[in-house]
Symmetry: C2
Subunit: 118 residues, 2 copies
């Protein structure tokens, strides 16, 4: 997984356990593509202050994931749902009765939600 | 959801963020049905000490869930997977071609794993 994307997901999962300042800085950097210098200007604090908060926040997010592993658990669920989507795509829809087709359509919609819910 | 079962799930999700002592006491109480008095005897500490640790641990677990909501997120996923299971049970299997039947069997197995993975 791309490192920036991974931190952005970790922030989504555990961000509420950071201080407001840590969260704000990481959100600007990882979700809004601000550089650390831009963040320092935006918040009116030193670049070193931004750097320290970002480093500490990132360490905390990694620590939470290494203790709880909930992002990894979610990713496994998502992969299973995507696997099911792939199976369903192999169905020969023309061979389905109207009754079965209606059910499969509902299943496909639920599975799509499951796979995208991360 | 039954309160004891809910705390047991919260312990499963966030237990690694508690102190070893808090975790040990809550694990004995909620997963192994020990009374607080039995835990005090087992660990050789006062009943008040057990009580305080259990109370503090429970407050922390509830605080983590109220900040992160990951147990609730997982329960939603589980409910979606169970909904899909119910849809699949309504399929008329006799009407499926061998090709489609083989796919549906694989889908059912994956969905079962998704629904039970909590």
């Amino acid at each position: 997984m791309d490192k920036v994307f991974e931190i952005s997901l970790l922030l989504d999962f555990y961000g509420q356990l950071l201080t407001d300042r840590q969260y704000e800085i990481m959100d600007l950097h990882y979700n809004n593509d601000f550089t650390l210098t831009e963040i320092a200007e935006q918040l009116g604090i030193s670049r070193q202050g931004v750097y320290d908060n970002e480093k500490r926040g990132r360490a905390l997010l990694n620590e939470y994931e290494s203790k709880l592993g909930l992002l990894s658990k979610f990713c496994e669920q998502k992969e299973k749902a995507e696997k099911v989507q792939k199976y369903l795509e192999k169905l020969n829809l023309a061979e389905l009765s109207p009754h079965n087709k209606a059910i499969i359509e509902q299943v496909m919609q639920e599975i799509r939600e499951l796979a995208n819910n991360i």
